[in-house]
């Protein structure tokens, strides 16, 4: 295996930081290190930086700079939106509706809300992982305080109809939150067009550093803070601002805005070549997620009769890194709730692989994976008692 054939295809789990972003971040660690609250020139530098950062991030999603609250990441933004939102508006109702394929952070936050007395309902999805709007209409009523539907699913790539979902929420005066983490830097995000009240934004998903994220909160929409302190971020999120991280995230947003159209086009082509190639060379393999309406970087393929962690280990051995929907690769020992929600059986979910492409991937790597996969799948299938005779 030569170095240029190593293929990291787990960009949904973690991305490298763009060197341009890193340069910007370094400046704010070493030169413009003042506290934005300080009333002197070093403080003003930092305060100006925050203003720039808010402009850049808001521009990416067609928001107003005042609508951006920086956090420590997507998980905190999800906590702030869901817990802070329903606490602030609890007089409006007792029900929270989320999709059955939300990220684990949203699912676990709503479990906490259940303990606070809210009723949480899951909106089912179809076989491609798209929320059923007709079911959402039935679930949302005048007792619903919040609806949260992700913009796109990072595991199966499926893009959700959030504009339509927001409309349903608003028709019952419920708030609408969307976790846009997996979609960051890949598809156009427009909070005005989609008419969302809260949107979770990630930094690392667009090649910014980890440890920073943001929540969009529509002007006029309120929230109960979770973090109490010096009243930073309009009092919504206290704690001295992570100016360097915030500037880095905003630089990543600026780059994403400039380069997204071209890069998403390139990734879509790679993705389609990967999906087509893999399905062609291996029998009893299937695409998970939506065939067309999916994130440019995502391919999720299911292999019958074998298990995902064993696939990951075998691929890692030939220099390819990715994720799986298998229970064995997860902390919970449960297969992916997303795949199960799409109607897959447990044994089917166990054999699923998640490829998430990124800037560092190219056609040669895609061809390399397509070349390596048949041998790996065949070896594991030959070992499996489930494999039918003709596939051994």
């Amino acid at each position: 295996m030569s170095d240029n054939l190593k293929a990291y295809m787990d960009n949904g789990a973690g991305k490298p930081v763009d060197p341009r972003v890193l340069d910007e971040m370094n400046l704010y660690h070493t030169e413009f290190y003042g506290n934005p609250a300080s009333f002197h020139s070093k403080g003003f530098e930092a305060l100006t930086a925050l203003k720039t950062a808010r402009e850049r991030v808001s521009s990416l999603i067609n928001a107003d700079p005042k609508e951006i609250i920086f956090t420590s990441g997507s998980t905190e933004a999800n906590n702030l939106a869901l817990i802070g939102g329903v606490r602030r508006y609890k007089k409006r109702g007792t029900k929270v509706v989320i999709s059955a394929v939300e990220h684990i952070s949203v699912i676990n936050i709503t479990k906490k809300l259940t303990r606070e007395g809210f009723t949480v309902q899951l909106c089912p999805v179809d076989e491609h992982g798209v929320i059923k709007l007709s079911e959402l209409e039935k679930l949302v009523d005048d007792d619903t305080v919040m609806v949260s539907i992700m913009t796109a699913n990072g595991e199966i790539g499926t893009i959700q109809p959030i504009k339509e979902a927001a409309e349903i929420a608003h028709s019952h005066e419920a708030l609408f939150h969307t976790d846009a983490t997996a979609a960051m830097g890949q598809i156009d995000l427009d909070v005005r067009h989609s008419d969302v009240d809260y949107m979770t934004l990630s930094s690392n998903d667009m090649y910014g550093p980890r440890g920073v994220g943001a929540l969009y909160i529509k002007i006029g929409i309120r929230i109960t803070p979770l973090m109490i302190g010096g009243g930073q971020e309009q009092g919504v999120r206290s704690g001295t601002e992570n100016v360097a991280g915030i500037m880095a995230m905003s630089k990543a947003a600026e780059i994403a805005q400039e380069e997204m159209a071209e890069e998403s086009g390139r990734l879509s082509e790679l993705r389609d070549a990967l999906i087509k190639g893999l399905l062609e060379v291996i029998p009893e393999s299937y695409l998970n997620g939506h065939p067309m309406n999916r994130l440019p970087n995502n391919a999720n393929i299911r292999y019958s009769f074998i298990e995902g962690e064993a696939l990951i280990m075998s691929l890692d051995d030939v220099g390819v890194q990715l994720s799986s929907g298998s229970a064995c690769a997860a902390k919970t020992l449960e297969p992916s709730h997303t795949l199960l929600a799409c109607g897959l059986k447990h044994e089917e979910a166990h054999g699923s692989l998640v490829f998430t492409l990124g800037k560092n991937n190219n056609r040669r790597q895609v061809d390399y994976v397509i070349q390596e996969m048949p041998g790996i799948v065949h070896r594991l299938r030959a070992m499996s008692p489930l494999t039918p005779e003709e596939l051994r």
Binding site: E307, A310, C328, H346, E347, M383
Partner: protein, 123 residues
């Protein structure tokens, strides 16, 4: 994270395959849980003369299957019945805690195969 021994037994498992003329066979686990193992044994003079396995499952499932066949080969049936999950894990320089229960079933499959052999013999 797996030990070097687990990785080695995953990459180059010993005694893989179905045994057409097995004297005893045992299967444990199920595909719903993500792990399923079959052990086949050939017995001569109350000793496991030959053994093989087929496994559906994660890296630990495959490595423990391979290690179990290595531990059991050449042992008397009584000795093989005494091989425990812990013995298998120890022989692999340990397993991650979450894998101890779900994927470490190979010793059970071995015991089932021995029971199956004894049942076949009584018939």
């Amino acid at each position: 994270m797996y030990s070097e021994k687990v990785l080695k037994h995953f990459k180059e498992p010993k005694n893989v395959g179905e045994m057409k003329d097995a004297d005893g066979m045992g299967t444990v686990g199920n595909p719903v849980c993500g792990d399923m193992m079959s052990m086949y044994i050939k017995v001569k003079d109350d000793t496991i003369e030959n053994i093989s396995f087929k496994t559906f499952g994660c890296g630990a499932a495959i490595a423990t299957s391979s290690m179990t066949t290595e531990l059991a080969k050449g042992k008397t049936l009584d000795e093989a019945m005494d091989i425990t999950r812990q013995d298998v894990a120890n022989a692999l320089d340990g397993l991650p805690p979450v894998k101890m229960h779900c994927s470490n079933l190979a010793a059970d499959a071995l015991h089932e195969a021995i029971k199956n052999y004894k049942e076949n013999k009584e018939k």
